[in-house]
């Protein structure tokens, strides 16, 4: 069975919620919609305080080519335009909407009926995806329409659908495939048309045999779509790792997937594309896995963007007394939150509640140069060296050692026998070197 070749680890799966069907979460009393939910320029606000908005109405327009529209996930009155602490741990601009009833914008088709035919041209499809504000739902939140617009001179030869979900605990994509399989297949065909490719591969890790079986069954009449089971191997859901696993090609340092003729889209994004193109529905809700060993009722929820994390945890049985950390995302790449007021954003794939014993950091000791982190790094970097360079703020050397190739997967920290916070230092270094590179370009 295929996988990528460099590094990687095998963390415990802990997929507690794999058998739990998706449940609709009730509307929040107040939705807090962040203006910067994507990579790129923050969106520009188009509503004012006091405005009455409908579900699906545009709240903020994309602030550049790499940016995304933001729509109202609820209907109600804009009560405040202020700041809220998001997953980054800093206050960020947001729109506060007091929810009244669920009054949807007229153009959105709300029936469950499967719309199989899409007669739009590729340009129209991409425009519709951009209009709907769809971003990569795997967590990186890169605007989907940008990926679907290859730069001049570059051609995509293979569309890869990322249904790997290698992150432990998370089951949102898994459940989505099981419950919305036919829609996803139509979404893949829409994306293939938009990109002009004649082949697509759905990469699924072998720990989801039911999803592999179902997708195979659903794609039986479309020979252009192949379902490829992959060996379990973290971080296979990383774009570059998945491309290697599926096609055998490595993306060079500093290059983009399109440079090797590949475009990768998450299965959650594909479903959002189906809804946007066939049902005119912007990206206003997503599937979030709320999980944790000490939660009473962990599950998969369909949640409106802007719902406070507190509502999700309440739905999962409330915050257990021994809760140590609340993590947005999975245990490997997620971020510990500072509070439960943090709202769900487009990239919130999961909420993980860890108990105190589970979340406690083990005592740190000195690096013994054992090289385990180098063996685990899926990008072929030397984390022990990078973290030391970042600690001593040697930025120029860090750049030469390819810090910008780090995908922040956390394999190095996971594998370190001395429990060193390698990734913490590397993230600081990456941010700093990134800023230096950007300032040089200006």
């Amino acid at each position: 069975m295929k996988t990528f070749t460099i590094g990687g680890i095998h963390p415990p799966e802990s997929k507690l919620t794999a058998g739990k069907s998706i449940v609709d979460l009730p509307l929040p009393r107040q939705a807090v919609v962040l203006l910067g939910q994507h990579i790129g320029a923050p969106a520009q606000l188009v509503v004012e305080r006091g405005a009455v908005v409908k579900t699906g109405q545009l709240l903020a327009k994309a602030g550049g080519f790499v940016s995304a529209n933001i729509h109202s996930p609820v209907s109600g009155k804009v009560s405040k335009i202020g700041e809220v602490t998001d997953a980054s741990g800093y206050p960020k601009p947001a729109v506060f909407i007091d929810v009244t009833e669920d009054d949807w914008a007229e153009e959105i088709v709300r029936t469950e009926k499967l719309e199989r035919e899409c007669r739009l041209t590729p340009q129209e499809i991409v425009a519709k995806i951009a209009e709907a504000g769809i971003v990569g739902m795997g967590g990186a939140c890169f605007p989907a329409s940008v990926k679907l617009t290859p730069p001049p001179g570059k051609k995509c030869d293979l569309l890869i659908i990322n249904a790997v979900e290698c992150e432990p605990y998370l089951t949102a994509d898994h459940r989505l495939m099981l419950e919305k399989g036919p829609e996803i297949v139509i979404g893949i065909r829409i994306l293939m048309k938009a990109l002009g490719v004649d082949r697509a591969v759905i990469g699924i890790e072998e720990n989801k045999p039911d999803a592999i079986e179902l997708m195979r069954h659903l794609t039986i009449s479309y020979p252009a779509i192949e379902v490829l089971p992959l060996q379990m191997h973290y971080p296979q859901g990383g774009e570059k790792q998945l491309i290697e696993a599926v096609s055998g090609r490595q993306v060079p340092s500093g290059a983009l997937p399109i440079d090797v003729g590949k475009v990768v889209q998450n299965v959650g994004t594909v479903f959002a594309v189906y809804e946007a193109v066939q049902k005119n529905k912007p990206l206003i809700e997503r599937i979030v896995t709320v999980t944790g060993k000490s939660l009473k009722n962990p599950g998969n929820f369909r949640v409106r963007i802007g719902t406070p994390i507190a509502d999700l945890i309440e739905a999962a049985g409330g915050l257990p007394e021994n809760a140590g950390k609340i993590i947005s995302g999975g245990p490997m790449m997620g971020k510990a939150l500072v509070g439960m007021d943090v709202p769900v954003a487009k990239g919130t794939s999961g909420v993980l509640v860890m108990d105190e014993a589970e979340s406690a950091r083990k005592p740190v000791s000195d690096c013994i140069r054992c090289g385990k982190c180098i063996g685990a790094c899926p990008m072929g970097l030397e984390p022990y060296l990078l973290s030391a360079l970042a600690e001593h703020q040697i930025w120029d050397r860090l750049e030469k050692e390819h810090i910008m190739d780090c995908i922040e997967c956390g394999c190095c920290t996971f594998t370190c026998p001395a429990n060193r916070p390698l990734l913490d230092y590397m993230r600081v270094g990456k941010a700093k070197v990134g800023a230096i590179i950007r300032s040089r370009k200006k």
Binding site: G89, V338, G339, V428
Partner: protein, 325 residues
């Protein structure tokens, strides 16, 4: 015997030959250097702290010798004494300048700034600030992990175990500016030491709106602009809900300190106030719960060692709390 002799002659010959080569090379490729560079370097403190803005003391000495005047060149560690000596060597007059000292613009001790979460990654302010705003509701304040203490070469900074915040020893501080660069929150500022080391400054960097700032920290500047109105010398500016005192304009009248409802403005090394009644009467009318004793205030000695005059509790009495949004 013969073997030893041959060895001596051969080795001695090689040695002599190489000595001639080295000597002639040294003559031929001699680098002419201004002898004054060495002299200037000798009078500099030799801390290589970079506080002057040049790479080490040698770099500063080279720049001094090359330039036509000493304007803008100053060794903050050596101060006026050293600059005078440099001036004598180079036959130039150094620009006199008042000595500076680093001040920490945060008073958010554990008592005043309630913790909202717990940090458990590496003990480094750099990492903590990259990860999030900090352990309290104030994302501008001191993280207390001591990056400033690590970079101070003069032992002028230490973390006070009682408050968990750094303390500047103003006798040891040379105003090299290393802490200013190291603090990811930009809390340190080099301010003039002032007459008799007396200084007044706004000890806060919180740019949140009043109610938010007040909720996060008892001593946060809420941008109420009372100090600005009280100041007769237009030394105080308010930007982004945060007051700043321009030390070039400040005349040390201490009126702003009396006015500040939050106790964000710190006065250092002043003698105790004489007219206690006066100060109390300023605060009383607007502060109904003035009698409520404030736990944190009396021992407020935030940035500097014991010499600090104790601000009176009455002067920092709280006004009625704005509705906490």
């Amino acid at each position: 015997m013969n073997a030893i002799l041959i060895a001596l002659i051969v080795l001695g010959g090689i040695g002599l030959l190489l000595a001639i080569v080295l000597f002639s090379a040294a003559k031929a490729f001699k680098v002419e250097e201004d002898p004054r560079i060495g002299q200037v370097q000798a009078v500099l403190p030799g801390a290589n702290c970079g506080g002057c803005g040049f790479p080490g003391c040698r770099g500063f000495a080279e720049t001094c010798v090359k330039s036509d005047s000493l304007d803008g060149l100053r060794c903050p560690v050596g101060g006026d004494d050293v600059m005078k000596q440099v001036g004598v060597i180079l036959d130039m007059v150094p620009a006199e300048s008042k000595p500076k000292v680093a001040v920490l613009r945060c008073q958010g001790t554990c008592e005043r700034r309630p913790r909202t979460n717990r940090y458990d990654s590496a003990p480094s302010c750099m990492i903590a600030s990259a990860l999030y705003g900090g352990e309290t509701g104030c994302s501008y304040g001191c993280l207390g992990l001591g990056d400033c203490v690590k970079v101070c070469q003069f032992g002028a900074l230490s973390i006070d175990p009682a408050t968990g915040m750094p303390v500047v020893d103003e006798d040891k501080c040379t105003s090299c500016g290393a802490c200013v660069k190291a603090c990811p929150k930009g809390l340190f500022e080099l301010r003039f030491k002032g007459p008799k080391s007396r200084r007044i400054y706004v000890s806060c960097r919180n740019k949140d709106k009043g109610p938010v700032a007040k909720k996060a920290c008892e001593t946060a500047c809420i941008g109420c602009s009372k100090c600005q109105k009280a100041c007769e010398f237009e030394a105080i500016t308010i930007e982004n809900n945060l007051a700043y005192i321009d030390f070039n304009k400040c005349r040390m009248c201490r009126k702003c300190v009396e006015e500040c409802p939050q106790g964000s403005i710190v006065e250092l090394n002043f003698p105790p106030r004489k007219k206690k009644e006066d100060a109390a009467s300023v605060a009383e009318p607007k502060a109904a719960p003035a009698a409520e004793p404030k736990v944190a205030e009396p021992k407020s000695a935030p940035a500097v060692e014991p010499k600090v005059a104790e601000p009176q509790a009455a002067t920092v009495a709280e006004p009625k709390a704005p509705a906490a949004e």
